[in-house]
């Protein structure tokens, strides 16, 4: 049976149950639904709020180096700590956190396969107690922007036959039928997609129980749409978070060497005056 390209980036719920009290491991919950953590979480797990702690709250950007150092230090995480991320909705925002941690050079970051949904479905231990970890002095030594695409890079790459754009939004967002999923505030002036992009909704990488699909299923999913490992791949969505999940799948589960997440995504592209837009399928 074929394995993931980097199997160490995934841990099972059973593995977490056995290691959740290991001081060298930090379990961190990052949910779309920021109220979920307080309802109950894995014993010892720290909760990070993606809306306030994993972004720059003034300008549109990822968390700054200083803020990340502060967050990790307050979370009791050292440079050699193994971080295990998990969250609701197929680990959507756990992947967003992982993408940022990898850019800031944290070596050992993993995702609990199946996330919060699988942990709950299996009836595993939960608590309401908020942990009070001992403060550390976390230091960021490198910042790797290889994993991030900016608008100019996308404009250049979309003309190259060696590049592939993957739009991971829903088909209705991709075709331009809707500007944003119902109930979500961030929107744009124009609907559609970046010309040449292939539509592979991010959630197709997951099984019903929240775990990732098998290596063969993932390979077939992306290769059948021309998203192959020999290309320079850029994933995007609406605000860059769903595409961080696809970035994780392509980069770590399938081992593609050159994958970037365009976090400006459609809320940037769909608002640019004069940007080329394609409508329909």
């Amino acid at each position: 049976m074929q394995t993931y390209a980097n199997p160490d980036v995934l841990v099972s719920t059973e593995w977490v149950a056995q290691h959740m009290r290991d001081p060298k491991i930090a379990i961190v919950e990052v949910d779309v639904d920021t109220a979920a953590y307080n309802e109950g979480h894995i014993p010892g797990a720290i909760g990070w709020n993606w809306q306030t702690q994993l972004c720059d709250t003034i300008r549109r950007d990822i968390i700054s180096k200083d803020e990340l150092q502060k967050l990790l230090s307050q979370s009791g995480i050292g440079n050699d700590t193994a971080i295990v991320l998990y969250g609701d909705n197929n680990n959507w925002f756990a992947a967003w956190a992982l993408w940022q941690l990898k850019m800031y050079g944290h070596n050992d970051v993993r995702i609990m396969n199946g996330g919060r949904k699988k942990w709950l479905a299996e009836g595993r231990e939960l608590t309401n107690e908020i942990p009070t970890p001992s403060q550390t002095t976390y230091r960021v030594f490198s910042y790797n922007e290889m994993f991030r695409a900016f608008r100019k890079h996308v404009e250049d790459e979309m003309k190259s036959p060696k590049a592939a754009l993957v739009d991971v939004r829903s088909p209705d967002e991709f075709t331009g039928k809707i500007l944003a999923p119902p109930g979500l505030p961030e929107t744009c002036q124009r609907g559609g997609h970046i010309p040449g992009a292939k539509n592979i909704p991010w959630v197709q990488a997951c099984n019903e129980d929240g775990t990732f699909k098998s290596p063969m299923e993932l390979k077939t999913l992306y290769e059948s749409k021309g998203i192959t490992s020999d290309k320079s791949v850029i994933a995007y969505c609406r605000i860059g978070e769903r595409s961080s999940h696809t970035w994780f799948v392509l980069k770590y589960l399938l081992g593609y060497p050159n994958v970037k997440n365009y976090d400006g995504s459609w809320t940037e592209w769909g608002n640019i005056v004069g940007a080329p837009v394609q409508r329909g399928g």
Binding site: V32, D33, G40, G123, L184, V203
Partner: protein, 73 residues
């Protein structure tokens, strides 16, 4: 420590929109969470003394919220 019980998850259509409904018991309360499936953003959450109560409350809140959003647009 506690363990979630009676975990159940399914999809439904509310005011023409497909949603995912997840509910379970934690401690002495039942919780229900409704999201919009793709991308899975939370629409509402509710809790109650029984699973049915939590789900019914969440569904009523979701319909109210989705209807008001439909009217606005």
């Amino acid at each position: 420590m506690m363990r979630p019980e009676n975990f159940r998850s399914d999809t439904r259509e509310l005011v023409g929109m497909k949603v995912s409904l997840t509910s379970y018991k934690m401690g002495d309360r039942f919780y229900c969470h409704i999201d919009n499936i793709d991308p899975g953003a939370t629409i509402v959450r509710a809790d109650g003394t029984t699973q049915d109560e939590a789900e019914q409350l969440a569904v009523a809140k979701a319909i109210e919220r989705l209807t008001s959003k439909t009217k606005r647009s």
